[in-house]
Symmetry: C2
Subunit: 200 residues, 2 copies
């Protein structure tokens, strides 16, 4: 029961973080959304920062769980595309908290949160391994530093392009994911002037 309630709280926080960001989210809104008194929230989480951090940890755990479902015998490149697509779908569904701004009190709370940092490290390690494998296979541009690729992949999870295209109501969520995946991995530039060399 306690577990279920905390899950409900975290999901409400998650939604509000995605919609309004940490600074604009108020604890009152969370309490109303969950349907309990604000004081009760503080029995579960000692501060607004901890509340938000718990939501970020929750998302991180979901990401770890998703990574675990990806076939280890698939090509690293396919797995990377799958992960990026998954995070985009999460963002389009309004379940991806937006990044805290540079000087936010939430950032300080996150870097001193062991669960969050551990999750971040594990996800980074897995993605980093895939990136280097994909680069050595020639599927990813080997001239890009792996760290830049990693950051780019993380950044796509909060790309405002998704939100803009969704607002236009011209494309379905699936089409939006496809479009942004394409610009992410293939770039805006044309490959019309390039001809694929067959590998056989």
């Amino acid at each position: 029961m306690l577990q279920a309630r905390e899950t409900a709280i975290i999901q409400a926080v998650n939604r509000l973080l995605a919609e309004r960001g940490f600074e604009a989210m108020t604890v009152d809104q969370v309490a109303i959304e969950v349907g309990i008194a604000k004081a009760s929230l503080y029995k579960h989480f000692p501060s607004k920062e901890d509340l938000a951090a718990a939501a970020m940890v929750w998302v991180m755990r979901r990401a770890q769980a998703y990574l675990a479902t990806l076939p280890s015998d698939a090509s690293p490149m396919d797995n990377l595309r799958a992960v990026v697509g998954w995070t985009m779908a999460l963002k389009l569904a309004g379940e991806m908290p937006s990044l805290p701004s540079q000087n936010s009190s939430l950032r300080a709370a996150l870097v001193s949160n062991k669960d969050y940092m551990d999750g971040l490290m594990e996800v980074s390690d897995i993605l980093g391994a895939w990136i280097e494998a994909a680069q050595s296979q020639g599927a990813l541009n080997a001239k890009l530093p792996a760290i830049a690729v990693l950051y780019t992949i993380f950044a796509r999870a909060c790309d405002p392009v998704l939100e803009f295209l969704k607002m236009g109501q011209q494309y379905s969520d699936e089409e939006i994911v496809e479009l942004v995946l394409s610009t992410c991995f293939d770039g805006l530039g044309s490959r019309a002037n390039f001809r694929q060399e067959t590998n056989g």
Copy 2:
């Protein structure tokens, strides 16, 4: 004199918007940074939203001015690259205000701000024309909707990848711009399997 003071105010706002975002920026901080009393600020701008909107209009005007300096006989693709590089440099210099979140009061203020919307429309028209020209020339992927390309270009101006790479202190600002420009236009994927066809 009044003009100079308002410019100073706007630049302070700009910096704080870039560093902390609209919600976390306080009018007190602006006043301290400019070196005047808070009440004096309100003689120049009627509200925090107007203050921020003025800063956004300022950036938009700088963008328009920059666009005007680009040679009209250059290739559309070169101009697009130049614009994206310019916005990235602005962001790295801490002079690019971060996007207001979906439900921010700043968004409402912006959409009802004629100066801002006019500037946005003009910039969009110029970029849109270049995009379509570059697509018909085969320099930009013609399969991407022009609107998606436009949004992507706007979004690169607030890409957190820039900030992440800067924090790592491993690359110079110029190198960071080059890296992200490359991922933006060429994608993360390798073009090693592609061979450029000569056009002659």
